[in-house]
Symmetry: C2
Subunit: 214 residues, 2 copies
């Protein structure tokens, strides 16, 4: 315990380098095959080692999966909450940046963030039933994430920049189109193409909240 972080998140800590390597490999496997189709041996193979290493740091498949999702959501929040709450910036500008950041994140090769958004389908996964505590934390983080978007929309409505639509539905709609990006986007495109796509989603989101012209 060399650092004084809240829950051993955010800062690896030099002694936890091995654990982080496992986490990264697991994220890569989960994003490729999903939860059930990912095997412990597969994660170990991606690490170039064996299961012993994985089980040294985690007690089971469910635990490592939830840790990947937890880290992913944590990183996402760390990315967008500062933007959402930045004072002196108009709501539509903040929302634009949030959408762009999230879009860029979805187009990166493989990371815990993508696992976090792609695998919300963990309903009816009996393996996670015993990990209620971590599951609750993840759900709370997801709520905070959606709330960040919803609040910025609400502020935009309040100051007249946006139409008076349902902020909750607006947030779900925006995040849905963004979270769906990994379904069709194939990495390997140039950085300019990625930027163009991110811009598109940013501009589209803003237009969907503003009054139609003639």
């Amino acid at each position: 315990m060399t650092d004084a972080t809240s829950k051993r998140l955010s800062r690896p800590g030099p002694a936890e380098a091995g654990r982080d390597a496992v986490l990264e490999a697991a994220a890569e496997e989960f994003v490729k095959h999903g939860f059930t189709a990912t095997s412990m041996d597969g994660i170990a193979d991606a690490l170039g080692s064996t299961k012993g290493r994985v089980y040294h740091y985690y007690r089971g498949k469910a635990e490592i999966f939830l840790d990947v999702v937890l880290h992913g959501m944590h990183d996402l929040l760390l990315m967008i909450e500062p933007i959402a709450t930045e004072s002196g910036v108009p709501a539509r500008e903040r929302l634009s940046r949030m959408v762009r950041s999230h879009a860029l994140c979805m187009m990166e090769a493989s990371n815990p963030q993508r696992v976090a958004v792609q695998l919300v389908q963990y309903r009816g996964m009996p393996e996670l039933a015993t990990h209620t505590e971590t599951t609750e934390r993840i759900i709370e983080l997801r709520r905070r994430y959606e709330r960040a978007f919803r609040d910025v929309v609400s502020e935009g409505i309040a100051d007249g920049a946006f139409l008076d639509v349902d902020p909750s539905l607006a947030a779900k709609s925006m995040l849905g189109s963004l979270n769906w990006i990994p379904m069709w986007f194939r990495p390997g495109r140039g950085a300019d193409e990625v930027a163009r796509i991110a811009d598109f989603f940013s501009e589209t989101a803003l237009r969907s909240l503003e009054a139609e012209g003639a």
Copy 2:
């Protein structure tokens, strides 16, 4: 072969009633648990019978899964293509109806259509490697589906109703937000609430394609 349909789709045929019951039960299971977590015995249980019945109609798990997806995509196309190509109706009106139809479909309890859209993640599923023919057909149907949306957007741009945006990205964005609905929508809501949500997505999609006012 009492009917003359193209590929034994669209019309059950009286002799195929048992097969359709299997298909329906399989769709329900796949939408609940996903591909790998769905077991043949689970499908049989949902039918109130045993595996023998399932294996009587299908040769394996991959085959029944692909058939569910194929039927789902087929039904979706049957729903939206007539709207997309209806003559005498302006593009924005057609697009509005298409979005609303798709949204309503995503909020129904359990059906092959939801399996079709939710489980596009069948990349890296080695079990489907031997079914290239059916997979190709599904991919072709998916392309046609997206093209229907893209074409209507293009027509709207051509006649000046929509802004000059990238039609392909616009289609992907719209379909993404719609396909994400099952992730947060929990059935059991009233019909009026469902209609309100469908209206929201329809109006939002149109606004995102039209010029900003103010």
